[in-house]
């Protein structure tokens, strides 16, 4: 009997085609009970493969195919030691430039079975020992030579097929196999494959005569990787067409002359370990302390922290501390807490988030900042007795301090114990299409035409569907080339291209990281494990998320500016921003643009609706913080109908629980499920799930792997509920609510952490708007563009000052009632030029003239040109002199370069620019108009249409109106029937307003949206909960 010992999944970088799940399914179909996975130079898919194998009922063998310039060998792990050795060897392969496979194998040979047809390697290894050494015979790969090697070296031969393709089904990719019937005609092609038969010509057509074949996909992958085209791929650069996952009988036909090779495959499989367990959690060790010492330290620190937070330890705090510490001790998490605490202490402003915010210990240690007792946060979501997977503490740091924090962590634990979590970068809808189209040689402009209409979030399958059915592609027939490209691209899903650095996941182990997982080196030079976060978690590696957060930096910078200018210092730890009247009012009016987490149009709309003029006074009495936490959680794409209901209940609508059993769970959230952990709680209360079952249900719903398991849970949910006497209709309604959590939802502690941060930002905005807006734009990466924030600044009463050579800093600066544009906004200005300018100004005072600037600052010509055109010298020299300054610049440059025959040239005195040129230069230099609102330029045009003002939208409720607008931001969603529609925010000179494009209008006008042009809009004003929006019916432009 035969076992496949050399198999590649789609996680063999730029090589494999089929996902581990598809491989397992195919192996089961062919009747195998054991399968090895040997991805190229890595263990990229091991936890996933083990999972898939368990589901499929297959015994997994772990291995790899190590390939270097000189050598090639398949390595299989015979035992745990062998696994560790493979992992170490692969780490060396990726990290060590002078890596030599022969040499490495002599070092890490223990527990590894080596299959190879590399003669040099085999004879070198045989000199040490012939144990676990086999000659690999594969159809289509010089089999007779390998056989000769085996006889000469007296080493046993083993049969493999180097499988990466699937026979017969024709379809490929990570999609589940659709047709599973065996196809005999394929066998005829492949049974020729003995000896050196090799596919020279590309496949005419796949055996089924329709679909994109696995082999074609493989060739496309190779062409993408090697940056070449299909016709120029040499046979050495690709796999052979015969490298397929054959059935045992088919395999036997290849080896009539060498049946022992088949036997040996079974023998090897028996030598390999097939029971793998990765579920043990691996914690970091804190400063080499033992478990007991670590716990004692934690206990002491937590109590110190409690005194710092509360002043004294009350009975409820004491009780909670004891409860948490007991679980932490039992589970051995003390090290983890101490490590996170130590890292968190490296920055003054952090925001611990995620479920960890429910922990009082974390609060006392200063990891999180929301009081879990005061805000009633559910500790069990974070840690409970039944939970087996590791907890997860995420900490946000100001984005520009993150690298320093990572440096600290690596300095403390060393690269041998710590490594970053990877992202396994594959293809998404847009990149798949682009890369395949490039292989097909299409010109860039044509590719861009297509891809710019595809969302970066869509997967390949979805973008193929969009090109067939989305209104953005209406009325275009795809050329045959494009049809083929789309058909190929839709199968590119999980195929691994390369690893990249995960944004913050850090793994620390107590001993040696390379024992557990191979390590590579990232572009930035940080060590990187081969698994992404899900697999790392499945393998028991505890990750600490160190994430960059721009808003922390915004708050930090604004606070620093306030301290410097006004001398006001705010104590971050004891800061209660929501006790401030102005902050409350700002949030209730939804003026939260720029405030972390509350700035998107949908959240602002929600806030405005809750506290709209129509709301009864009781609504204003509800605790603001609680509402903020709820509001930031309920904004989920799928929760639209619940949001309406939520607002109504907030405003005093009478309501009752769907079932009395839900009272304890949904009482605080007005009977609507808002937080992630409420799934667990509902499942425990209603159908009587156990805590861990409930937690599983939560995971299934909120994470990606759904499908059949969800169905099982639904059945169980219904059955359990009915047992407790709940009617089917009620259960259905509750199940629907639960499902709305799919994809995107938060737990309460997480939302609470963020709500606190939002409130701090709102406080800064309400009390120090100039400094706040300056910090928001300077830290970049807000929800809106700088232009939108500048408009917001104008609405807040700030004067926008142009960049100036003597006044501007690199970043934006806010002072009193004015906002000065920073030099960072000037397009193309080099960092170096800015630094020279600032340094010179700092050291030797302000510049007195342009000439003075040129002499002192010594910047490049292009930089000086940009400064002039951005108007930085308008105060010194006057706007009229801009062209004259450019002449001066040219002259200065000539003088500084050509000294030999110095010429005295009289400079011309050009006339000043006309108004249009000045405006164009401003828009070119800054990327937008800052001196006035762009709509102001079209005043003559819009006055003819007699538009209404956005600030008075509510007065026209229910009427047909005309409006002018400048595009600010856009959100595309699908309606209940899956038809695309769009919410767009526009602004006119008075206010921002929200416009809705329902599917019919969207289909007609979608190509006109999101351009930077003055819009003319016609439609109905709709009012909901006292807030008006525009339902657009017609779109045009003012400028053409």
């Amino acid at each position: 009997m035969f076992v496949h010992l050399h198999v590649h999944s789609s996680l063999s970088p730029n090589w494999g085609v089929l996902s581990p799940e598809a491989l397992c399914a195919e192996a089961v179909r062919l009747g195998f009970d054991t399968l090895a996975l040997t991805d190229r130079n890595g263990l990229y898919a091991v936890p996933r493969f083990l999972d898939a194998a368990r589901e499929a009922g297959i015994s997994p063998i772990i291995g790899t195919e190590a390939v270097t310039q000189q050598n090639r060998a398949v390595l299989l792990a015979a035992d745990q030691e062998g696994y560790a050795n493979i992992s170490r060897l692969l780490s060396d392969l990726h990290c060590d430039k002078s890596f030599d496979l022969c040499h490495a194998l002599t070092r890490y040979r223990h527990g590894i079975i080596v299959l190879s047809d590399d003669r040099r390697l085999l004879s070198a290894l045989k000199r040490v020992s012939a144990d676990g050494l086999f000659v690999e015979l594969s159809p289509g790969h010089d089999m007779h030579r390998a056989l000769a090697t085996s006889r000469e070296l007296k080493l046993p031969a083993v049969a493999t097929s180097r499988a990466l393709l699937r026979l017969g089904t024709g379809s490929a990719g990570a999609c589940p196999p659709r047709s599973c019937a065996p196809h005999s005609n394929t066998a005829d092609i492949t049974t020729k494959g003995t000896g050196t038969w090799r596919s020279q010509s590309p496949p005419k057509q796949s055996p089924l005569g329709g679909d994109i074949s696995d082999f074609h996909l493989h060739r496309v992958l190779r062409a993408i990787d090697l940056n070449t085209k299909l016709s120029r791929l040499t046979p050495e650069q690709t796999a052979s067409e015969s490298d397929a996952l054959y059935g045992a009988a088919k395999m036997a036909k290849f080896f009539p002359h060498c049946p022992e090779a088949l036997e040996n495959s079974r023998r090897i499989a028996e030598m390999c370990r097939r029971e793998w367990d990765f579920s043990r959690t691996i914690f970091p060790a804190f400063r080499g302390l033992g478990n007991d010492d670590a716990f004692t330290t934690l206990n002491r620190r937590a109590r110190e922290g409690a005194l710092w937070r509360y002043g004294s330890i009350g009975p409820n705090v004491e009780a909670r501390l004891q409860k948490e510490l007991a679980i932490i001790r039992d589970k051995g998490f003390a090290h983890y807490f101490l490590v996170v605490e130590e890292i968190t202490k490296q920055s003054q402003r952090t925001c611990g988030r995620g479920s960890a915010a429910a922990s009082l210990v974390a609060y006392c240690l200063g990891i999180t900042h929301v009081d879990p007792i005061r805000h009633n946060l559910f500790f069990e979501r974070f840690l409970n007795e039944g939970r087996s997977d590791p907890p997860d503490i995420d900490v946000d740091f100001p984005w520009d301090e993150r690298d320093a924090i990572l440096d600290f962590a690596f300095a403390r634990y060393g690269a041998s114990r710590a490594a970053m979590v990877a992202n396994q970068v594959g293809f998404k809808g847009r990149s798949a299409l682009r890369e395949v189209a490039k292989v097909y040689g299409l010109p860039d402009f044509e590719i861009k035409e297509m891809t710019e209409r595809i969302s970066g979030f869509w997967r390949a399958e979805q973008s193929a569907a969009a090109m067939a059915g989305h209104p953005l592609f209406q009325g275009e027939t795809l050329s045959p080339d494009w049809q083929e490209i789309v058909a190929t691209a839709r199968h590119l899903n999980g195929q691994l291209r390369h690893l990249s650095l995960h944004c913050g996941g850090l793994v620390i182990v107590p001993d040696e990281i390379r024992r557990y997982v191979p390590v590579e080196i990232s572009h930035k030079g940080l060590p990187l494990i081969q698994w992404e976060k899900d697999q790392a978690e499945d393998a028991g590696l505890v990750k600490i998320d160190i994430l960059g957060n721009r808003s922390l930096a915004v708050i930090r910078d604004a606070m620093a500016a306030v301290k410097e200018q006004k001398g006001i210092e705010i104590d971050y730890a004891s800061w209660r921003p929501l006790e401030d009247e102005r902050t409350q009012s700002l949030m209730r009016r939804g003026l939260t643009m720029g405030c972390f987490y509350l700035e998107s149009p949908s959240v602002r709309l929600l806030l405005r609706k809750i506290w709209s003029p129509t709301a009864p006074p009781e609504t204003f009495a509800i605790d603001l913080f609680e509402v903020l936490v709820q509001a930031s959680s309920i904004i989920r794409p799928a929760a639209n109908s619940f949001i309406q209901e939520y607002i109504a209940r907030m405003q005093g609508k009478k309501w009752a629980h769907l079932h009395p059993l839900l009272e304890p769970v949904l009482g605080e959230t007005l009977g609507i499920a808002i937080y992630q952990e409420q799934i667990t709680q509902i499942a425990m209360e209603l159908p009587g799930f156990s805590a861990s079952e409930g937690d599983q249900l939560r995971k299934v719903i909120t994470k990606k792997h759904r499908g059949k398991r969800l169905e099982d849970f639904r059945a169980k949910f219904m059955a359990g509920g009915q047992e407790r006497g709940v009617t089917g209709a009620v259960l259905d309604a509750i199940w629907d609510q639960i499902l709305s959590f799919a994809g995107y939802s938060f737990c309460k502690p997480h939302s609470a952490s963020y709500a606190l941060l939002s409130a701090k930002a709102a406080y800064m905005k309400a009390n120090h708007p100039a400094q706040f807006i300056a910090a928001v734009i300077s830290n970049q990466g807000g929800y809106y563009s700088p232009f939108a924030y500048i408009s917001e600044g104008r609405r807040l009463g700030l004067t926008i000052l142009p960049p100036d050579v003597n006044e501007s800093d690199h970043h934006y600066t806010g002072f009193d009632k004015s906002l000065r544009i920073g030099l960072m906004q000037i397009d193309g200005l080099t960092r170096e030029g800015t630094q020279r300018l600032l340094k010179e100004r700092r050291e030797r005072g302000k510049f007195t003239s342009f000439r003075d600037f040129l002499r002192r600052a010594d910047v490049q010509r292009a930089d000086a040109e940009r400064l002039v055109k951005a108007g930085c010298f308008d105060v010194l020299e006057g706007e009229q002199r801009r062209p004259a300054l450019l002449w001066e610049l040219l002259h200065f440059q000539q003088q500084s370069t050509a000294l030999l025959f110095e010429q005295k040239t009289e400079l011309p005195t050009p006339p000043p620019y006309d108004a249009g040129t000045v405006l164009r230069q401003e828009a070119e230099a800054l990327g937008f108009l800052a001196s006035r609102h762009p709509l102001a330029l079209y005043k003559a045009q819009w006055q003819r249409h007699r538009p209404i003002r956005a600030s008075e939208l509510i007065k026209h409720s229910g009427q047909w109106v005309t409006m002018v607008g400048w595009w600010i931001t856009t959100k595309m969603v699908e309606d209940k029937r899956g038809r695309p529609m769009e919410f767009v925010s526009f602004e006119d000179v008075t206010a921002i307003f929200d416009a809705t494009f329902f599917p019919d209008v969207y289909a007609r006008f979608c190509r006109k949206l999101s351009q930077r042009r003055p819009y003319l809009l016609k439609g109905m004003v709709e009012e909901e909960f006292g807030v008006a929006t525009l339902r657009v019916k017609w779109v045009g432009f003012l400028d053409g």
Partner: protein, 416 residues
């Protein structure tokens, strides 16, 4: 003696030609663009199309949106060549010094004044004969140099002659935008002039050369001359070249090597035949690859001995092809030129390794092939390599997946 240069231009030349052949195109908005894709860019447009807001360089489907009645025709190289030839022939009746361009000609009529009168008379006669013989409307400009006569011709809206008197060149050019001056194209210089607030030719003419040198460096004296209406460049008739050139545009843009090589074989056979007819061999081959996105790459190679037989030539060209055509981008056309055409037994390098003798058999084979083709047509005997290779096509018969509402229901997309 003052020169008299005449410039004749036929606006939207390819369209004007097409309208002569196809009456239904007259008076309608027409544009020229390759028809292989709706995304192809317009190369030339008629005034009617321009009036509807169509611009050169926009994709076809874009243009159709602003002008639904737009008629798009494919570029007809053959017709264009015939038209140019006819323009040349008509012009040659007045002077031998004629410089051709696409739909344009420069005539130096300084010396034919005695025969045909002043340039404006020649222009009028030429315009008339172009109208009569070719049915095309041409505009003419006359002046003391090429620059002035060209600008003059281009300002004309309808047939006629714009005669710029001698000495009036500078005031004539003064009010034009700087972009009419050669050397101030769409390059960085336009931007620079815009920033320096130099919009009109007169503003450049008013500057001194040293001032101008600050802005454009060594180009300053020439530019200043031009701005003042001084252009000394002569009218250059076509030069004869010893190069043997074969050019091929692919029916469809392609990046499959097999197809490109078969096209290459066709070019090689063309060159080879012409070389053998001359009884000469080429020492240097140059291969230009034109890509679909407009980029061109060129490779050159010097052969050890003059070669004229197809097979050795092909071997050399193929090698050159693989080192030249390195991009994945589809290829639009190929151009092979054989240069340094020498006698078959030319001067040989003293120390070079003796080149492999061309065997008698090979020469015989080639001769026989040439004879056969001469007698029975070019396609009577062909190399297997040259048989139109098919691109590997993986039939995509899968129906596109449905736009699945369920799957996308919760996918919120935020643009920008």
């Amino acid at each position: 003696m003052d020169r008299e240069i005449l410039h004749i231009t036929v606006p939207a030349f390819p369209i004007a030609l097409a309208r002569v052949v196809h009456a239904h195109l007259r008076g309608r908005p027409v544009a020229v663009a390759p028809l292989n894709s709706e995304r192809a860019l317009l190369q030339c447009i008629s005034p009617e199309a321009a009036a509807e807001g169509v611009h050169v360089g926009t994709p076809i489907y874009h243009a159709r949106r602003s002008c639904p009645s737009l008629i798009v025709i494919a570029p007809d190289l053959h017709l264009a060549a015939k038209g140019n030839q006819a323009l040349m022939e008509l012009s040659a009746e007045f002077t031998p010094v004629v410089e051709p361009g696409a739909g344009r000609v420069f005539l130096d009529v300084t010396a034919s004044r005695r025969l045909f009168g002043p340039a404006r008379d020649v222009a009028a006669r030429l315009e008339k004969s172009i109208a009569v013989e070719l049915g095309l409307e041409a505009m003419a400009g006359a002046g003391g140099n090429k620059l002035v006569s060209r600008v003059a011709a281009d300002t004309m809206r309808e047939p006629g002659v714009y005669d710029v008197f001698h000495g009036a060149e500078r005031p004539f050019l003064a009010p034009f935008p700087v972009s009419v001056l050669p050397g101030v194209g769409e390059s960085r210089q336009t931007l620079l002039f815009r920033d320096l607030n130099l919009k009109l030719v007169q503003e450049i003419a008013a500057l001194s050369v040293p001032q101008l040198r600050l802005a454009v460096g060594p180009f300053a004296p020439l530019l200043h001359d031009r701005a003042c209406g001084i252009d000394r460049s002569p009218v250059q008739p076509l030069r004869m070249s010893t190069e043997i050139v074969e050019e091929g545009l692919l029916e469809q843009e392609e990046n499959d090597d097999a197809i490109l090589l078969s096209e290459l074989l066709r070019l090689v056979e063309g060159c080879g035949l012409r070389l053998r007819r001359l009884r000469k061999g080429a020492r240097k081959i140059t291969l230009s690859v034109m890509y679909a996105d407009g980029v061109a790459q060129q490779g050159k190679k010097v052969l050890p001995v003059p070669t004229s037989l197809d097979l050795p030539l092909l071997a050399a060209v193929e090698e050159l092809f693989f080192t030249t055509c390195k991009r994945r981008q589809r290829v639009k056309g190929l151009r092979l030129s054989c240069d340094q055409v020498a006698e078959d037994a030319g001067q040989m390098d003293l120390f070079a390794v003796t080149p492999a003798q061309v065997s008698r058999k090979e020469t015989d084979l080639q001769e026989t092939l040439d004879l056969l083709r001469e007698k029975h047509g070019r396609n009577a005997v062909r190399w297997g390599k040259g048989l139109a290779a098919r691109r590997e096509v993986t039939l995509a018969s899968e129906t596109p997946p449905e736009w699945d509402p369920e799957q996308n229901k919760y996918m919120t997309v935020t643009k920008n």
